[in-house]
């Protein structure tokens, strides 16, 4: 046979080459096999003469068998690369046919093929990550994203099972969110999954990689996994160890050496999920905020196309949110009579990159729109301010009405004042003339015909004259009171002490024979109309003067008490406190004219002056125990 005819030197060469070599005879029996081939293909000690497929049963039905037959049939060499299950290597095979048989050379190209495959896997992993990111960007749900991730892991990492766990940071517990593959030959109780590897990944932040759970010392607690038919796994954290969201665990039913690229792919995918879930969470929060707002919200991009509207905005336009998104803003503003104005505002906010606010009115509703530059576009918040506007209008209307009424009242008041003036004039002029006539002719009667009168007749005429005089006094007092009401108050600083002293001086001049002890606190000041305040003090001091006439040691004091009230106090006749409230009415008198003369108008005048200054007035007293009048005035402004 050919192998036995091989020259020893050739045999020597074939034994030395690093390639595996064997030769088959025409009947497909092993004619020669070198040491390398024997080793790589786990050949029996002496296979010579044995049918080749009995020696290499794994080659049956595979590329090896097909290619060798093709070479013999065509009598042309073949070359191919195929994975040898027996050698567990990638082999590059060259087979040369001849009439006598087939010579087969092969060598281990596993590193090259693995490198090529790794390059291809890397490319696929990268593409997968890009696609995954793209689909997440295009808008997806969290569940959809997880399902996509699981699908990718199953495809790229050829995983049998993929679990996604959620980590509850507060409780420190894991729960399965999403899972796939358990029904395909591996069976694990999903209700009670072993968690050591998941916890390790989350705790350390490093992926937990086990190529063979059977021999992994860390995996003792994972015996359940092994029983489930899982032999290898990778667990990676979603998020960071500081803020873990959960973990992804990839299981294989076979042992598997995970390449760095495999592990990185799982990590990258987990990271993407973490990022997108964070983004989605912020998005969800943002959406919640936007949806819960009372404002209608719209976001537009740089082309003024709607990128988001909240429910309120959609309701306003009687659309759904999704119907509006993507449409140009002008689709909606175009239907408004002031739409061009609104659009211009958006363009301005976009161009100037600054917030702006504007108000619009449409069909009786007022809206306030606030625009904020946002990303490359603009966010608009629209608020119904009809109520506020209506209120504003109402207030404005009220103000106008108020002004009108004030003006009206002022006119009425002016007219009333005019009337009062002419009335006062008539009173002062026309009422006095008859009184003068009464007095004058009574006197004339006395003078011309008095000889015929007895004492009683003379006394009657006296009474007529006194009554006329008293009425004249009353008229003068009333006029003074009316004048007080009409005098405009010009506030200036008034020296109350000096004013009181001046009034006392006048009283002393009027009754030089009387001795009244007067004490005036120095340095009293107030803000008011000097002339009117003089009337106040003259009246109050005049009363004190008058009502101490029958007091043995008359005393009058002027001062200011702790409550900031000015007072004029005397130790005179006083009054019955029960009637204190009657003191300040016109013509009100608590003493008969026989006891103490007076018109009863003085205190009414005082009260009017104090009130016109914005002050208050009160009186304290007791019969035969003196009277004190308290009053307040605006303080001097410093």
């Amino acid at each position: 046979m050919a192998d036995s005819t091989l020259r020893p030197d050739l045999s020597l060469v074939l034994e030395r080459i690093t390639d595996g070599f064997f030769a088959l005879d025409a009947q497909w029996r092993i004619a020669y096999i070198n040491a390398q081939a024997r080793k790589l293909l786990h050949a029996p000690v002496d296979p010579i003469g044995t049918f080749w497929l009995d020696v290499f049963p794994n080659a049956r039905g595979r590329l090896f068998e097909r290619e060798y037959h093709r070479a013999m049939r065509d009598q042309r060499p073949v070359q191919f690369v195929e994975y040898s299950v027996t050698a567990q290597l990638w082999l590059e095979v060259k087979a040369y046919p001849s009439a006598d048989g087939l010579s087969v050379y092969f060598r281990d190209v596993t590193p090259r093929i693995e490198a090529q495959r790794e390059v291809e896997r890397t490319r696929r992993r990268q593409q997968a990550l890009i696609d995954f990111g793209r689909s997440a960007l295009a808008g997806t749900t969290y569940d959809r994203m997880l399902a996509d991730a699981i699908e990718l892991l199953r495809e790229i990492l050829e995983a049998s099972v993929v679990d996604v766990y959620h980590y509850d940071r507060l409780a420190g517990t894991f729960s399965i969110v999403c899972s796939a593959g358990w029904d395909e030959g591996v069976a694990l109780d999903p209700a009670r999954p072993p968690l050591d590897h998941v916890a390790a990944a989350v705790r350390t932040g490093e992926p937990f990689v086990s190529s063979d759970l059977r021999i992994d010392p860390r995996a003792r607690a994972l015996a359940q996994l092994e029983r489930s038919g899982v032999l290898s796994c990778v667990a990676t954290v979603i998020g960071t160890t500081q803020a873990p969201h959960g973990a992804i665990v990839v299981y294989h039913a076979q042992t598997r050496t995970f390449s760095v690229g495999d592990v990185r792919f799982a990590q990258a995918l987990s990271q993407s999920i973490a990022e997108f879930s964070s983004a989605m969470e912020s998005n969800r929060l943002m959406t919640q905020v936007l949806e819960s707002m009372a404002d209608a919200f719209v976001a537009v991009d740089a082309d003024l196309c709607i990128t988001y509207v909240n429910q309120r905005m959609a309701e306003y336009w009687a659309q759904t949110q999704s119907e509006m998104i993507g449409l140009p803003l002008s689709t909606f503003t175009g239907t408004l009579p002031h739409g061009a104005y609104v659009l211009k505002q958006y363009k301005e906010a976009l161009r100037d990159r600054r917030p702006l606010t504007f108000e619009t009115e449409h069909l009786g509703r007022w809206h306030e729109t606030r625009l904020y530059p946002f990303g490359a576009g603009v966010a608009g918040y629209v608020r119904d301010i009809t109520a506020r506007k209506t209120e504003q209008d109402r207030v404005l209307g009220l103000n106008v009405e108020l002004e009108r009424r004030v003006e009206e009242r002022t006119k009425q008041l002016e007219a009333a004042n005019k009337e009062l003036e002419s009335f006062s004039y008539s009173v002062s002029h026309d009422l006095r003339a008859p009184l003068r006539a009464i007095d004058g002719f009574s006197q004339a009667l006395l003078e011309d015909y008095g000889d015929g009168f007895d004492d009683r007749a003379r006394s009657y005429l006296d009474r007529v004259r006194r009554a006329a005089q008293r009425m004249a006094d009353l008229i003068d007092a009333l006029l003074k009171l009316a004048k007080v009401a009409r005098t405009p108050i010009g506030f200036s600083n008034v020296d109350i002490s000096a004013t009181a002293s001046a009034a006392v001086a006048e009283l002393r001049d009027g009754e030089p024979d009387r001795t009244v002890e007067v004490r005036i606190e120095p340095g009293l000041t107030a803000s008011g109309e000097p002339h009117l305040l003089h009337i106040v003090l003259a009246n109050l001091l005049g009363n004190a003067w008058k009502f101490t006439r029958h007091t043995p040691h008359p005393q009058v004091r002027v001062g200011k008490n702790g409550e900031g009230e000015f007072y004029v106090a005397d130790n005179g006749a006083g009054f019955d406190a029960a009637y204190a409230h009657k003191l300040f009415g016109a013509f009100a008198r608590l003493h008969s004219g026989d006891e103490y003369e007076g018109t009863g108008i003085g205190l009414a005048t005082v009260a009017r002056i104090i009130h016109r200054h914005g002050g208050s007035l009160r009186a304290e007293g007791a019969i035969e125990n003196g009277a004190t009048f308290y009053f307040t005035l605006p303080e001097v402004e410093t």
Binding site: S424, S428, A433, A437, G440, Q443
Partner: protein, 148 residues
């Protein structure tokens, strides 16, 4: 030229009577010409013959509240007319309204006397006015006419 006379412009008959009685009681013998309203008084004062004759009153006693032409209006006319502008004119009235006082003095009245209700006081007031203006006071030289 006749004895100096007084022009009393007063519409109230009682006041006229009482004023004349006061003059009498004070022994003021000058003639008192009474005009019952402002219009009549103006007609009297600005009468051409009277102006020519220079027979102007030595004193005008002027009430303010008068029918037709008021006292202040008449005062304004008196002061506006060359023949009467220098005539001693005293407002004798019931009013002591500030406005009347201010306006009276502004229009150039020589004196402003309020009539007291008490007749004795009134008599005293008339006495003093008469004494002052007819005796004590040097009257202005006669104005108007061609006799200068």
């Amino acid at each position: 030229m006749s004895k100096p006379y007084i022009l009393l412009v007063e519409d109230n008959a009682d006041d006229i009577e009482l004023t004349q009685r006061a003059f009498a009681k004070n022994h003021i013998a000058n003639e008192v010409v009474v005009m019952r309203d402002g219009a009549a008084a103006a007609e009297f004062l600005f009468d051409e013959n009277r102006v020519r004759a220079r027979s102007m009153p030595a004193l005008i006693l002027l009430d303010l509240s008068l029918p037709k032409v008021s006292g202040l209006e008449l005062l304004q006319k008196i002061r506006a007319n060359a023949a009467t502008k220098l005539l001693p004119t005293v407002i004798l009235t019931s009013s002591k309204q500030e406005e009347d006082l201010v306006e009276g003095y502004r229009l150039g009245v020589n004196s402003y006397v309020r009539k007291p209700v008490d007749f004795n006081e009134f008599v005293e007031a008339v006495r003093q006015v008469g004494l002052y203006w007819l005796v004590l006071n040097e009257p202005p030289p006669p104005a108007g006419g061609g006799g200068m």
